[in-house]
Amino acid sequence: MARNKSTPPRTEQLALSELTIEQRQIEGLSLSTLVRRRFFQHKAAVTSMIILGIIIVLAFTSVGTIIGGSGRLAADTTSGQIILDGMRITGWWPFDWYHNYPITTVGGVPSWEHPFGQDTLGKDIFARVMRGIQQSLTVVALIGSIATALGVVIGAISGFFRGWLDSLLMRMTDVIIIIPGLILGAVLGRTIGGNAISLGLLLGLVSWTGLARLVRGEFLALREREFVDAARVAGASNARIIFQHILPNSIGIIVVNATLLMSAAILTETALSFLGFGITAPDISLGQIISQYNEAFKTRPWLFWWPGLFIVVVALCINFIGDGLRDAFDPRQRRMPKLSSLSRQFRELTGGGRS
């Protein structure tokens, strides 16, 4: 369309704006743009993302964090105080997760000073829960990303190329499947020290097997579809066919599996800590808090409720985000589940009864 340099008269201006609306409609959108748009229309997923973001920011800024170090308690050479080994970044919360403070209320009931309460030794539960969230989220993020990436790539290569490569990769998978993850985590967790990053890396390296099998199955079926031939005739490379053509079609199974994996990761970490192998005292994780205080359930329930609540909220957020991603990649899933659609279904049922 030829543009007039001088300001067009009013009518033409109107026509111009109408035209741009029309043009905007026919502007070609790439897959990623469409997926992003649909994801941000998914209210539950966006809300979950915001909540998860708030939790992460809260957990890391409040009590600060610690980088490197052995995770053991040591005496500070200058002040002589007992501190945790490693580079300490402090936050805005006045209490630490490893110090004992004087108990301010009877039995350590939550108060303004210690909103989540204190335990019998006077440890601040808010600080402990925040540090626990940091550790558990680190483990979950590492397991989730490493296992998903490995599972998808190995499964995709196996299913797409088949032949000897497939046999080799699947036998390798078999070997990993027979290693019990919990025992491996326990043995290696003890030798490489109980920190969240090494634990996450380790568990991530052994928990990709199920996903690899599922992705391989999907790829075996999808690679025979005609759109793969069509892409090949168009000149697409193998990498493009795998990642741009087939992967979006198997995203449903990947997302469902990845969210399950991440929820399971919280539990694995909890189990290891409970056995005393994963993240060990004086450092803390959500699972460890629960296992440590399991005898105080009746007398000091706040020791339970807060870590438990955060485990549930984090797991729910991850699942909703996964749900949103799955829906965004599936073009058939157009409408969001709404109350109005439920009432419509109800009317449908009653209307059906009339005939």
Partner: protein, 550 residues
């Protein structure tokens, strides 16, 4: 002729669907009656309500559907029957032959098991051995070559035509009074289609079953039907005896449907002469090509094509015709480099395809486009169609994002789709629209040759006519060559300058369209031509007689 008893009668039959908060009419005011031994054909495009209204007879509507009116099966209203009663009617009184026997039969049970199951449900007193004997008798009745072997076969072990025969055997197992055949031959080749229709006809005469035949193809029903109902948009637009409908159609829509059936030898191709291409280099050349599927596990190697030689010159349309399994699709896939060749030479646009490097292959693919058979499967379901069309352009790496976007708009315009469709997904389009998208993608890079692999066999006859007209118009304008692969001679007749006939992996005959269609030499070509349905009851009857006597 004495009046036979009416077996089923529909009075003011209607079907509604609950969509987005209101009842949407799918069919309305349908009245018909079928007498024993009669065939009623219901003809209409997809979405005309022909299937929905027939399925409502059996209470097989989806949960959001409801049926109105009255259906009398020997005096009993099936629409008001209890679920127990309707279950007893299904299979026993009214049986159905579905369109796609591969999906309608359970792949994990043998054919025999499924027939015995149907028998045992309705005749619980029947012993297992008696049921088996009856099943084998039925399989013989539908003219399966080896009933005992078919009894023990799984659906995937039979060919398409054999599966449909087994399906028919199952549906007639309880001697139903009414047989609903829902597009029974749409998924089959022309020659097999003719055989299945002959079988239905003879069963109908022998058993005295009333048949309701649902189809979109006026050619199919010409010799089958006694009465014809033409439906459009859920309403009956015309009804009458077959002879009346075919010779004196009153409504424009019926005339349109009749015209959409490709007539062999009456198409625009008549009188067209194959040009002399001496001195020109062919854009596609196959010489003595063999293609073998390698041995895999216990499956022995299979030679799909043998000693095939074809030349296609620039701007020429070559029709490659043959039954399924004749190797024609294999040839198409070898031409675009999706199948390795075991012997011989293929040259596309001057590039030898046998010893081709990956880089050369990428280069030569800019000159080839391919339109696949099933547009539902050949477009990536997770990609907006604009992306699918633009992919060859993006991959060629010679265009900026803006140029790709403009070209996609231009291509959509060329195949007569609104440009706003570019952001839609394949499932939001109809079959015909999807195939237009497939054509647009094939033409994206202005190819010198387009391989069209049965591009219209998945479409309704009327939609097929429109897509073919579009393809011809674009081809006339842009002058690319087409290798048109089809099992339907009538379709090939509309388009092609030359025809090659393939049978069991070999080219049995090759020549100009006129030569092949007016003066076929090979007996297989003759058989193929005789099987093409013609929308004329008299002509069809003559042909069937010729078929059965030979």
């Amino acid at each position: 002729m004495s009046e036979k008893p009416v077996v089923i009668e529909a009075k003011n039959l209607g079907v509604d669907f609950w969509v987005d908060g209101e009842w949407v009419m799918a069919a309305e005011d349908i009245n018909y009656s079928v007498r024993a031994g009669e065939v009623l054909a219901i003809v209409g495009e997809s979405g005309s309500g022909k299937s929905a209204s027939s399925m409502s007879l059996l209470g097989l509507l989806p949960v959001n559907g409801r049926a109105l009116g009255q259906v009398l099966l020997a005096g009993e209203d099936t629409l008001k029957a209890t679920p127990e009663r309707i279950r007893a009617i299904r299979g026993r009184e009214i049986a159905v032959i579905f369109q796609e026997p591969m999906t309608a039969m359970n792949p994990v049970y043998t054919i025999g098991f499924q027939i015995v199951e149907a028998l045992k449900v309705h005749f619980p007193q029947l012993s297992r051995s008696a049921a088996k004997a009856r099943a084998i008798e039925l399989l013989g009745l539908v003219e399966l070559p080896d009933p005992q072997k078919a009894f023990d076969s799984y659906p995937h072990q039979l060919s398409g035509g054999q599966r449909q025969r087994a399906m028919i055997a199952q549906s007639i197992s309880c001697d139903p009074k009414v047989l609903i055949a829902d597009e029974p031959t749409t998924a089959l080749d022309v020659t097999i289609q003719a055989e299945i229709l002959d079988l239905l006809r003879s069963l109908n005469e022998r058993l005295g079953t009333g048949i309701i035949l649902i189809t979109h193809d006026m050619g199919v029903v010409a010799d089958m039907a006694d009465h014809v109902i033409v439906m459009k948009g859920g309403r009956v637009v015309e009804s009458g005896t077959a002879v009346d409908i075919y010779t004196r159609p009153k409504v424009d829509y019926t005339k349109e449907l009749l015209a959409a059936v490709p007539h062999l030898g009456t198409g625009a191709a008549t009188g067209k002469k194959a040009n002399d291409h001496k001195g020109e280099t062919p854009v596609l050349s196959l010489s003595n090509v063999d293609i073998t599927y390698p041995k895999r596990g216990r499956v022995p190697a299979f030679r799909a094509a043998e000693d095939v030689s074809i030349d296609i010159y620039p701007g020429e349309v070559l029709g490659l015709v043959g039954e399924s399994g004749s190797g024609k699709t294999t040839i198409g896939r070898a031409v675009v480099g999706l199948m390795p060749v075991s012997a011989g030479r293929i040259t596309v646009a001057g590039q030898d395809m046998v010893n081709v490097t990956a880089a050369q292959l990428r280069e030569v693919r800019r000159h080839i486009g391919i339109v696949f058979q099933d547009p539902g499967s050949s477009l990536n379901p997770r990609w907006p169609i604009g992306e699918s069309i633009g992919e060859p352009l993006v991959l060629s790496g010679r265009f900026s994002a803006q140029e790709v976007s403009d070209r996609v708009a231009e291509l959509l315009d060329m195949v007569e789709l609104p440009i706003s469709y570019r952001n839609r997904y394949p499932h939001e389009l109809s079959g015909g629209q999807r195939q237009r998208v497939g054509i647009a993608r094939a033409l994206a890079l202005d190819p010198a040759i387009v391989v069209a692999d049965e591009p219209t066999s998945a479409l309704d006859v009327s939609v097929q006519a429109r897509v073919l007209a579009l393809l011809t118009a674009i081809q006339k304008k842009q002058k690319f060559a087409i290798l048109f692969i089809s099992h339907d001679l009538a379709v090939i007749d509309l388009l092609s300058d030359r025809i090659a006939v393939m049978h069991h992996g070999k080219i049995v005959e090759q020549g100009s369209t006129d030569q092949i269609l007016r003066n076929p030499q090979d007996p297989y070509t003759k058989r193929l031509i005789a099987a093409v349905p013609v929308p004329d009851p008299e002509e069809q009857r003559k042909r069937r007689r010729a078929r059965t006597t030979t």
